[in-house]
Structure formats: C-alpha cells, structure tokens
C-alpha cells in the first residue's frame, strides 16, 4: 500500500507519464522511471477482453486506465431492430455466466409496458431458474478468483457443479448456455417430468459438496488469506458513491439487494437473508458469495416445496405491441443490479432498449482502487468485481 504522499506523487507521475507517451525522450525530473505496461486485452486474468494501461513503479501500480469495448457488439442497437420476443435471445448474450437473469430483466420491463399478469407457476419457475443461475455463476466466480491467485484446482470443481446445473437446464430449456427460456408472459414450457426431483437431489448433493470443495479447500488456506485479506479494501461510502451493487457493495456491509428491497416476481413470497460482510476486501467477497450460494439453496428448497400449479404462460396474443411509454425491469443478477429500460413507441420493435449491466458500473472501481496495490493484487481485485466481458461491453 502506498502512503498518502506516495499516492500524490504517483498522481503527479501519471500526468508526466501521459506526456512521456507522446514524447518518449522526456525524462522526469526526479530521475524516477516508471514502466508502462499494457495488460490485456488478451490476458489470462482479464475475464475476457479488457485492457488495463498500467504504469508500474517496481511492482506497484501508480496508474490504471481501463480501456474497454473489445467485445462491444452493440446489443442496444440490435435490440432496436428486432421484434419484442426476438430480443430475448440477444439479452442472453450479455452476461453469459448468468443468462437467465438477463432474460428476466428484459422480460420484466416489457411486461411492465404491457401491464401483463403472470401466472404464479411461471413466476415461481422463473425465480427457481434464476436462483440456479445465481449458483452457476457464483461458484465459478470463486473458482476464477482462485485461478487468478494461481490455484488451478477449484475452477475445475466449480465447473463440475456448473456442468451439472447445465444438465438440469438443458433438460428444462433445451440449451446449455443460451437458454432463451423466460418469455414475455411466462416461461417457454413447464418443467419436464422428474426434473423437480432431480433439482432437489442436486441441491442436497451440492450442500454436502460445498463444505469440502469450496470452504475447506479455500477458506482456511494461509496463502489465500495472505493474498486476499485487506486487498481491494473499500469503505461503504466509497462503494455507494461508486454506484456499486451486488457482491462488491454487500461485502462492505451495505445491505442492498434488489430481491429484498425492490421485490419482483416470486421473491415476495420467499424467505431469505441478505448476506453482508464488514470488511469490504476480496476475502469478504468470497465469504459473501459462499453465503449467497447457501441462501440460493434455501430459496430453491422453498420454491420446490410449494410449487404452485397451473399455466406457465399468460395469454398476451400472438403479437406483442405495447403502448407508448417506458418500462423498467430491475433484477438482482449474480453481479449486482441489472436493469433494463425499454422505451416503446407503439410499434412491434422497441424504440430504445438500455441495459444497465452491473459489470460496467462495478468496473469503475478498478481505476479507483488499483493504484497503490501491487501488480499481482489486480487479479484478486478482478475476482472481487468478477466482471463478465459480454456484460461490460454490451
């Protein structure tokens, strides 16, 4: 960690470095030389395609500039040119680790425009799948954190769990990754025969495996603690100021969860806790993730215990053409608050769709807290934010 004076000096240095880039022959007057390094876009720890322009003093980062857009596929523009139902498969591609929440947000927004009534069974199934989606995003997140710290094994245990959930999803939705399951007015199809039992069995198995494979292996490890405790530490105020949501906010102790405070769908009927931690560092984010997986298990059990009967699709007509206006769907994705703002002009394509992805906003944290850390600390901080390339670039 840099002292305050060093930090100020670093800020001054970064200004000079910008000049030095333009004119490499200029040397700074302190005789200090820093090393400019471009980390990414092709880098194993960058969660996809992200470029960090780093200025290093030894191994200490004095400046970090985030350059993104390497995976920008202009989904907002594409969404403006597709009919309302045909936008759903595009939302799937935003956060490809937690697709089901992405669909859910868009569908909620359109339903708000249509003022549609959703059958309770569809609502319950949506929440069920959403919680499975959270598990299959959180567990690999822990794996990625460990992978970036240099431990290769947990990621494979994590992907074992993800694959098993994907098997369930494949039986329900027909795809392993881009589900396209939640539809405007309900879900695509009811759960197939035997799937609730399979889900129950899987969840019970996961409860048993969670302790050895993800807690015993990681939590007490001295090297893990040394690498993560106090790294990426931020105060609650800073977190709120930066607009963080999801795990990075909750690990500072601020209790905010869209499911709790802006309830939607079936979550009004569920009993769960918002997991928070007081430390606000990488280790705390790991603990919050584990706690949230346990809460998700609890919620899935509640939903499966009393799954309402009935239809899974509301009758909204064949053609979806909402009235003029705007609708906002806000869900808690695995990475934070995900909101979709759909503006309609009365035609059968949206006039404007805006995706508020949590990754984009949370990534602002990088340029704020990375300066002062060592170069290898960038990786756990990336694990704390846990962004997804498709989501920050939209």
């Amino acid at each position: 960690m840099l002292s305050e004076e060093r930090r100020i000096e670093s800020a001054a240095l970064s200004g000079r470095a910008a000049g030095r880039l333009a004119n490499p022959d200029v040397r700074d007057e302190f005789g200090l030389e820093t090393l400019d390094m471009s980390m990414g876009p092709q880098h194993p720890a960058m969660h996809g395609l992200l470029r960090l322009i780093l200025e290093l003093d030894g191994e200490t980062v004095v400046r970090c500039d985030t350059v993104m857009g390497y995976l920008h596929r202009s989904k907002e523009k594409i969404s403006e040119n597709r009919m309302y139902p045909a936008v759903i498969p595009i939302t799937d591609r935003i956060d490809y680790m937690n697709n089901i929440a992405m669909e859910y947000g868009y569908v909620l927004a359109v339903e708000k425009l249509l003022d549609a009534e959703i059958p309770p069974r569809a609502d319950a199934i949506r929440a069920l799948m959403n919680e499975f989606g959270r598990i299959m995003s959180h567990i690999p997140s822990i794996g990625f954190l460990m992978l970036e710290l240099g431990a290769f094994t947990p990621i494979l245990y994590a992907f074992r769990e993800r694959e098993r959930i994907q098997n369930i999803f494949e039986a329900v939705t027909g795809a392993r990754m881009m589900f396209h399951y939640i539809r405007i007015g309900g879900v695509k199809a009811d759960l197939p025969e035997g799937i609730p039992e399979q889900m129950w069995n899987y969840i019970e198995g996961l409860e048993q495996r969670l302790q050895p494979d993800f807690v015993d292996l990681i939590e007490g490890n001295e090297i893990f603690i040394a690498r993560t405790r106090g790294i990426g530490k931020m105060t609650q105020e800073k977190a709120v100021e930066m607009g963080l949501t999801g795990v990075p906010l909750r690990c500072t102790g601020a209790e905010f969860d869209v499911r709790k405070h802006y309830p939607y769908g079936w979550y009004k009927n569920l009993d769960f806790d918002v997991i928070t931690d007081t430390e606000g560092d990488v280790e705390a984010s790991y603990r919050v993730r584990i706690g949230e997986v346990k809460q998700s298990i609890r919620m899935i059990k509640q939903i499966l215990e009393d799954l309402p009967e009935g239809e899974v699709m509301a009758d909204l007509g064949r053609r979806i053409r909402p009235a003029e206006g705007d609708g906002i769907g806000r869900v808690e994705s695995a990475r934070g608050e995900y909101a979709v703002h759909v503006v309609s002009d009365g035609s059968d394509t949206p006039y404007r769709v805006h995706y508020r992805t949590p990754c984009t906003v949370n990534m602002q944290l990088l340029q704020e807290i990375v300066p002062g850390h060592y170069l290898p600390d960038i990786m756990p901080i990336m694990g704390l934010i846990d962004p997804v390339s498709g989501a920050w670039d939209k």
Partner: protein
C-alpha cells in the same frame, strides 16, 4: 516546553522525554488528520446532521414524504413561490448555484444511488432519464429533454461519482456532451478515426451478410 529541535542537550529527564514523545505523537496525529482532511474535502463540505455518517447509514422511512418535504424546502430555498410562477431574476437561479446547491441533495433525500442514465434519441431532441434509487425501495425518475443536434447538459458526476462512465457511455453512443465531466472520452467505440455515434437513429445499420467475399 521548547520545540523538539531545541532540546538538544545531553541528558533529558524522563518526564520531559515522555512529554516530548507525546508532543511528537500529537504532531504526527495532527499531520495525519490534515492529510485525512485533504482527502475528505468533498465530505467535509457536506453539512452536518444530514445523510452519511460514519459508517454509512442508509435512510429509513418512506421516500414519498421525504421527497415532498425536500421539494418544499428546495422551492423556498430557491425563492420560488411555486414551480409555475418563479421569478427568473432571483440570484439563486444561476446554473452553477443549482449544481452547487445540489451537492447535498442526494444525502438529504437519501437517494444515494444512480442506477442508470438512458438517453433516447427522439429525432431532433434527446430525452435523458436518470433513474435514482434510495436503496430502500424508493425510486426517483428524473426526465429531461435537450434540444439540438449537438446537445450539452450539466454533468452529475459531482453528486454521483458513478455517473462518470454512464455519461461517457451516453457521450459515446449519442454524442451528448456533459459539461463538467472530468474525463469525457468514448467508452466503447475506438477513440480516434470514428466520428459516429452509433445509437443515433440516423446511424443506419446494415444487416448484410458480412462474408460475401470470404470464400
């Protein structure tokens, strides 16, 4: 007690030593506090008794009543009789006063969180939607309209630092300029050799197959 530099004698009694030590400590603490103060200048400007304590306390109660009370206070503070019949000549009506006075707005209301900024290109004008949350179930949606081909609007980064990238994105996609933004660069599209703002309605996309000559 002489300053520490002048007590350069061979033998110092124990109590004096102790006192010197304490004095040094106090000086150090003062210096540290000074640094802290510098660091937290933004926070120090905030009025006491409102909003963010330490640690942060999230607001309680209904947003509606808070909002109503706040708006009343805002109107009287601005010298407005009612939103309709305000006098344009009052000295608090200048733009910088508005943004300056707005600094504590987020805290007084407890609307701490800027969720997103949506820009909608209504051909000829731009509609901006600011979605604000108090993180406790209340939400405020502020809509505004900017006319013109090259619109300019005040930045809200002073109140919500998170707006930094939201505004960069809006600038990138629509060309809406934000006055007072610390670092208004493109967020997604490449920085040079690209003069378009792709989400404008005038920017046409082609759905042509891209591999026509790629046998």
């Amino acid at each position: 007690m002489p300053p520490a530099s002048q007590t350069d004698v061979g033998w110092i009694p124990k109590e004096v030593k102790k006192k010197l030590k304490e004095q040094k400590k106090a000086e150090q603490a003062a210096a540290e506090a000074d640094v802290q103060k510098k660091r937290l200048t933004r926070r120090a400007r905030r009025p006491e008794g409102y909003g963010l304590g330490w640690p942060l306390t999230l607001p309680e109660g209904d947003l509606q009543t808070r909002l109503k009370r706040y708006l009343e206070g805002f109107a009287t503070g601005m010298g407005w009789r009612s939103p309709r019949s305000r006098e344009p000549g009052t000295d608090r009506d200048r733009a910088e006063d508005l943004t300056g006075g707005a600094d504590d707005r987020a805290e007084r209301l407890g609307v701490l969180h800027l969720s997103f900024i949506t820009v909608v290109d209504r051909v000829g004008s731009f509609e901006l939607t600011y979605e604000l949350l108090d993180l406790r179930g209340g939400q405020v949606r502020v809509k505004t309209k900017v006319e013109g081909e090259e619109p300019v609007i005040d930045s809200v980064t002073g109140i919500y630092p998170t707006a930094n990238w939201h505004e960069r994105e809006a600038y990138d996609m629509f060309g809406v300029a934000f006055k007072g933004h610390p670092d208004l660069r493109r967020l997604y599209m490449w920085q040079d050799h690209f003069d378009h703002h792709p989400l404008l309605k005038s920017f046409e996309i082609s759905t042509k197959r891209t591999f026509e000559n790629l046998r």
